[in-house]
Amino acid sequence: MTEQQNVLLKVENLQKHFPVKGGIFGNKTINQVKAVEGVSFEVKQGETFGIVGESGCGKSTTGRTILRLLEPTSGNIYFQGVNIAEVNKTEMRKLRKDIQIVFQDPFSSLNPRMRVKDIIEEPLINFDVKDRSEREKRVHEIAEQVGLTVDQLSRFPHEFSGGQRQRIGLARALITKPKLIIADEPVSALDVSIQSQVLNLMKDLQKEFGLTYIFISHDLSVVKHLCDRIGVMYLGKMVEVAEKNQMYDEPLHPYSKALLSAHPSSHPLKKKNRIILKGDVPSPSNPPSGCTFHPRCSSCMDICKTEAPSLQTVRDQHDVSCHLYTEVNKDQEYLYE
């Protein structure tokens, strides 16, 4: 991937808070779940940007907010220069032609009472393709591309396996020829043997359509397989963004390190030294002070308890949000190993 690639999507300081209502009239926000708390990143044309992190860290919320399935609390989302966060609802609906999403659960993301062809066709109807035969033609085209046969099209979702359903989901997302696809854990519900089929398909489609992916997952090996650049999220924040190999070979953030080490090895003899984190992921409605990771961090310093670090570029294309790498500590080479 080269430098000159255009930035397709730029997310700036995105925040999404879910209000916890209370008060006498039920209209007072008594608390907030800070699901996404200032996330910034860029996605370039044609690349696959991976987002990893533990459950509840805000990955899906980030993805859905970009599509405005959830209204962002604040921040900007530039898609091809247009600020998605500010357009009105009708314009947004049009923009959705270019940004699509594939969901994690292939079972609940397809309406059980619609035939496959109707599911795939629906976006075309929404985006005003009036001609029936034209629509049918395109449905057939796309079905073939994702590996569904024509006679399968008139069946209902429950007649398909998980992998096949994910193909249907992909077909639905692709039929409007979008530029960006947000894939929210598209393979986590699938068996390994099926997972690889879908991953391969996604790669093929990317090549064929010049797609850009935001690939959300908690499976580090899948992310590594598919993505070009990776962002690690922790409790609503992007704590580290780096090119894939850098991330896997030399993770900087203590959390990234722990995450990578926790991933089970692929061979019984290759057992590695694990960093077992203490405690659980804190609640996003009541995040710890300072660096939100500090209670679980083995390299926690005093400053971490009070001051939140910001995402800074510490190396070429490698950003991290950790006090260990701020000016004061930068010269401590050992950190880089």
């Binding site: 533990e54 459950s55 396996s161 998980g162 992998g163 096949q164 068996d191 390994v192 043997s193 099926i194 997972q195 690889s196 089929q197 991953l199 391969n200 790669k203 908690h218 580090l220 090996s221 899948v222 590594k224 397989h225 896997y248 722990a258 995450l259 990578l260 080490s261 926790a262 991933h263 089970p264 090895s265 692929s266 061979h267 019984p268 003899l269 290759k270 057992k271 694990r274 077992i276 984190l277 405690g279 659980d280 992921v281």
Partner: protein, 328 residues
């Protein structure tokens, strides 16, 4: 030789629909030895859970025993009566489930749920049982265990609930622990914690574990021996290192190859074509044949389970010639 704590023989489990039987678990046999961890892997729906549930007499309504027998110590289960199961459940075999979120009863306190198990099997006073519960919580590394005793499941995180489940399961010192995908619903960092915990406890208590999972990574970390299941049958059984280094069944091979590897980079993953066959519409002969790159004519017949000299077993015609002894 190491003590055998469990012996499963030609176990068949299935559904009966107007006299028509459909086998979900189709003649599974294996042994479990003291202190070992036996992994069972396979794709979703291949019958892992049914196998494990049948070892506890917990089959869901509609699913029945259709044959085979189970030996636990010197208890022999042949006709699988409800009463017999109650004697071994909890005391001899304990179980933890995949979903930590839903395996604890939401309306009872953690303490009560542990105590229930203890009181049921051991002649104890409530107070003693409570002490035992506390002890168990400490054992599984729950912070502030005395408070957690009086809390409800919803107040705990997934990882903590799974620890509680382990605490319940182990509270009566069972000989066998069946763990049905104990970490699938958990995050990697939490999964690491739990797996670590299980390993430590196994060492302390010297119990045998049947670990069911579809994650080969977890198998690699945890198991001594592995059974690979496909469509209700065991297709391969071997020691864990052997399985990873030298898989025999084409299915096992395909499974391993389709795994993205964090330490290697491939452009494309190899994948097994097709989908798992469905119960009620099983191919005759080798059930994997349709998807098998090495399938040949003989695969139209059911292959034997070949026992190899290493002690591993494989159910495939390709190994027929090397057979030392054919069971079945």
């Amino acid at each position: 030789m190491v003590q055998k704590v469990l012996e499963v023989n030609e176990l068949k489990v299935g559904i009966k629909d107007e006299g028509k039987k459909t086998n979900i678990v189709n003649g599974v046999s294996f042994d479990l030895y003291k202190g070992e961890t036996l992994g069972i892997v396979g794709e979703s729906g291949c019958g892992k859970s049914m196998t494990s549930l049948s070892l506890m007499g917990l089959l869901p309504p509609g699913v029945e025993y259709l044959g085979g027998d189970v030996r636990i110590d010197h208890l022999h289960f042949k006709d699988f009566r409800k009463k017999d199961w109650r004697k071994i459940r909890g005391k001899r075999i304990a179980m933890i489930f995949q979903e930590p979120m839903s395996s604890l009863n939401p309306v009872h306190t953690i303490g009560n749920q542990i105590m229930e198990m203890v009181l049921n099997h051991e002649p104890m006073k409530k107070k003693e049982a409570k002490a035992r519960a506390l002890e168990m919580l400490q054992l599984v590394g729950i912070p502030r265990p005395d408070q957690v005793l009086d809390e409800y499941p919803y107040q705990l995180s997934g990882g903590m609930r799974q620890r509680v489940m382990i605490a319940i399961a182990l509270s009566c010192n069972p000989e066998i622990l069946i763990a049905d995908e104990p970490t699938t619903a958990l995050d990697v960092t939490i999964q690491a914690q739990i797996l670590e915990l299980m390993k430590n406890l196994q060492d302390q208590m010297n119990m045998s574990i049947i670990l069911i999972t579809h994650d080969l990574g977890v198998v690699a970390e945890m198991c001594d021996r592995v059974i690979v299941m496909y469509a209700g049958e065991i297709v391969e059984e071997s020691l864990v290192v052997e399985l990873f280094d030298n898989p025999k069944h084409p299915y096992t091979k395909g499974l391993l190859a389709s795994l993205p590897d964090i330490s290697e980079q491939k452009e494309y993953l190899s994948s097994i074509p097709g989908v798992v066959p469905v119960y009620g519409n099983m191919p005759i002969g080798c059930r994997f044949a349709e998807r098998c790159p090495q399938a040949h004519d003989r695969c139209k017949e059911t292959p034997p389970l070949v026992v190899k000299e290493s002690g591993s077993r494989v159910k495939c015609w390709l190994y027929e010639r090397e057979e030392a002894e054919v069971i079945m």
